[in-house]
């Protein structure tokens, strides 16, 4: 092999985007313990550091296909998971979440380091990313158009989102509807999708092929298991899309399927009240929500059966 071939080979590696899965375990561990790795998660660059054993493995599993960004770059979030230095750590090992060196929460049990990372990053985004209108909503895409499923916790939004993602929809987010002010497009933020308590079994049954990670018991939100975000959703995460459907879902055990249009003024109020930063953005928030409600067909959905619900939503997009 001559010199130019070696140079070309290096250039090839440098120009091609490296993903988290491609980092050798030793290198990943070293970098997490040292300067950290920069991971592109949706529109954000997150710098992640941790010396917690086992965290690297979970990160690599859930964020396998996410691009690793070469330094130097501006990181939107500097995240660190560490074991707090106190006497308790001998008795009851704990994990502490740090956002740019400061810890907004009390420590979690050490075994919950990964859910803590997910929850902490959500918190950071909600507190900081006011360049977007942030709706509290699951967001999925099909044939270039976005469906928003805004709901309060407990309405089955994550479960429905997981079900749709396993029926061909592209995952934008199960939590954040990020609206870009410039054109009203939704910005993808695919992440591991947390399923809680009974939803875990429901999704295992509904989509046996879905890849779920380990189950975390007795977390702040009960038992949690994360769905690994589909490869396609991750590789397409730089492709935004305009909103087309606004569906307010509500799960009720054994309830018959009911999907009906809802007046836009009601949709407006529901959406605005369910936003992370509608009030904070003032006029920009008002304009954002108005535009979105105008551009969308608005529905309410009550369901007791996940299969019926996904079929009905699929039909919506075909009509």
């Amino acid at each position: 092999m001559d010199i130019s071939a070696i140079a070309e080979c290096r250039a090839d590696r440098e120009s091609r985007q490296v993903i988290v899965a491609e980092l050798p375990a030793v290198e990943l561990n070293q970098r997490l313990a040292g300067i950290g790795i920069l991971v592109q998660i949706g529109p954000f660059i997150v710098r992640i550091r941790s010396r917690i054993e086992g965290f690297a493995g979970l990160l690599q599993r859930f964020y396998a296909n996410f691009p690793v960004i070469p330094a130097p770059a501006i990181a939107d979030f500097h995240v660190q998971l560490e074991r707090p230095q106190n006497i308790r750590h001998w008795l009851r090992p704990q994990a502490l979440f740090l956002l740019d060196g400061q810890s907004p929460f009390l420590p979690y049990p050490l075994s919950h380091a990964f859910p803590l990372f997910e929850w902490g990053l959500n918190w950071g985004i909600a507190m900081q990313a006011h360049q977007y209108l942030m709706l509290h909503s699951a967001v999925v895409e099909r044939s270039g158009r976005v469906m928003l499923l805004p709901a309060w916790p407990g309405c089955g939004k994550s479960t429905l989102c997981a079900a749709l993602v396993n029926r061909g929809w592209r995952l934008f987010s199960d939590e954040f509807g990020l609206v870009r002010s410039m054109d009203g497009h939704l910005i993808p933020l695919p992440r591991p999708l947390p399923l809680k308590n009974r939803s875990i079994e429901v999704i295992r049954h509904f989509a046996p092929e879905a890849e779920l990670g380990p189950t975390f018991h007795k977390t702040r939100k009960g038992t949690v298991a994360h769905l690994v975000p589909p490869v396609f959703s991750v590789t397409q995460s730089n492709v935004s899309a305009p909103p087309a459907w606004l569906v307010f879902p509500r799960y009720r055990a054994n309830a018959p399927l009911h999907l009906a249009p809802t007046p836009k003024q009601q949709a407006f109020l529901k959406l605005a009240n369910n936003s992370f930063n509608y009030r904070l953005l003032g006029l920009r928030g008002f304009k954002g929500v108005t535009r979105l409600v105008r551009d969308c067909k608005c529905y309410i959905l009550t369901y007791g059966n996940l299969g019926e619900a996904t079929d009905a939503l699929n039909r919506l997009t075909e009509s």
Binding site: I45, A71, P72, A73, I74, A75, D76, H78, R88, R92, D100, G101, L106, Y108, P109, Q128, A129, H130, Q131, K218, N277, R279, L280, L281, G282, R284
Partner: protein, 376 residues
């Protein structure tokens, strides 16, 4: 006082360059930006930088990510400022039928009077000064309209009412903004006793309103006292930026500098004024007329004290690199905290207060960790 430009570490240089010369940020590398955004956020100056960069029309010339952070920070600052204006309207409405003059202090004064420190300034609460004889009526009127004391331990209530210069913080349950009602600008226990009546006499009224702001000289001195006498240095750099702005803005008023020195010396505030001028000049390139510093010679502390202050202030003012926090910074902060309390109250009371605070911190820590252990 030495006039040589202060030279510090890389993070100091990045942050101070951006604050003093926002136009220079267009030459920053990605690493510089990453660090600058972190330092500015930590010192609550991100919104301020955003306003300065935007004012110069440079938003298109900086990295897109930096512009995103600036947009987000500006939205946050705007909302806090608007909330403060709204809160002040509600406060005026609560006192509609009372003829009580209200002086806006600190951030609120800058914002409502449109003074330069208002640019991108993050507000944490609404600070107002009312005449002492009207304090009870003001408190009753606010409570009647729904304001409540932010939940405090009995000791804290006692601390505020007996020893400090303000009511315990109030908050309306419909809105999040904290309201601090002061009746003098220095604690009752402090060795200083500013003449509050004179502050009211010199204050300046807004058109058609009971709202007032302090006279420029008093406003500057008040911010100085807050930072270099009895304040706690929590947002030290932000407060120093306020002062540099005030000096630049009021410096052209006829007689400003002379009155500033005279009034400070008459109120035995020469020392804090000396520190303020020294550090605005050193860190933020403030322009101070030659004669002003000379006239404060007698207020300059002895050489060892001055060196100690220099070190403590520079450690505390500029945050560490977020990835490499230093323990000495925490020590410097603690020393300045103790110093501010020392200036605020007599030694016996100080000892009692600090012990009490430490005990309560310990107790709170115990109860939260135990609650967590129980619930976790």
């Amino acid at each position: 006082m030495t006039a040589t430009k202060y030279k510090g570490s890389h993070n100091e240089e990045i942050l101070l360059t951006a604050l003093c010369n926002p136009a220079e940020t267009v030459t920053f590398t990605m690493e510089d930006w990453d660090l600058l955004l972190r330092l500015a956020r930590r010192t609550r100056l991100l919104g301020r930088l955003a306003a300065c960069v935007d004012e110069l029309g440079l938003m298109e010339k900086i990295p897109e990510k930096a512009a995103d952070h600036f947009t987000a920070a500006s939205a946050f600052v705007d909302q806090r400022q608007q909330t403060a204006r709204w809160e002040i309207n509600w406060i005026l409405k609560a006192h509609e039928d009372m003829n009580v003059p209200i002086i806006l202090l600190k951030g609120c004064a800058y914002i409502l009077a449109g003074l330069p420190p208002a640019r991108g300034r993050l507000l944490s609460d609404v600070d107002l000064l009312v005449p002492r004889d009207a304090l009870d009526r003001v408190e009753q009127a606010l409570k009647a309209d729904g304001w409540e004391f932010v939940k405090l331990e009995n000791y804290d209530q006692h601390y505020y009412r007996t020893w400090m210069h303000e009511l315990p913080p109030l908050r309306h349950p419909d809105r999040g903004m904290e309201v601090d009602i002061h009746h003098t600008i220095s604690p009752l226990t402090s060795r200083l006793s500013p003449d509050t009546e004179e502050l009211f006499r010199n204050s300046i009224a807004f058109d058609n309103s009971r709202l007032r702001i302090l006279h420029p000289v008093d406003m500057t001195l008040h911010a100085t006292v807050h930072l270099f006498h009895d304040g706690e240095f929590i947002n030290g750099l932000r407060d120093l930026v306020d002062l540099a702005d005030l000096l630049a803005h009021f410096g052209d008023l006829p007689g400003f500098w002379q009155q500033l020195v005279e009034r400070a010396q008459a109120q035995r505030l020469g020392r804090p004024l000396f520190y303020m001028l020294r550090y605005t000049q050193r860190f933020l390139d403030a322009t101070i007329p030659e004669g002003v510093l000379k006239s404060l010679c007698s207020d300059e502390p002895s050489w060892p004290v001055l060196r100690l202050m220099d070190v403590l202030v520079s450690w505390t003012l500029i945050p560490n690199h977020p990835d490499y926090p230093r323990r000495v910074t925490a020590l410097a902060k603690w020393l300045l905290y103790v110093r501010s309390h020392w200036l605020r109250m007599p030694p016996g009371l100080l000892l009692r207060h600090l012990l009490r605070k430490q005990y309560m911190r310990w107790k709170n820590h115990r109860s939260t960790t135990m609650a967590q252990a129980g619930g976790g």
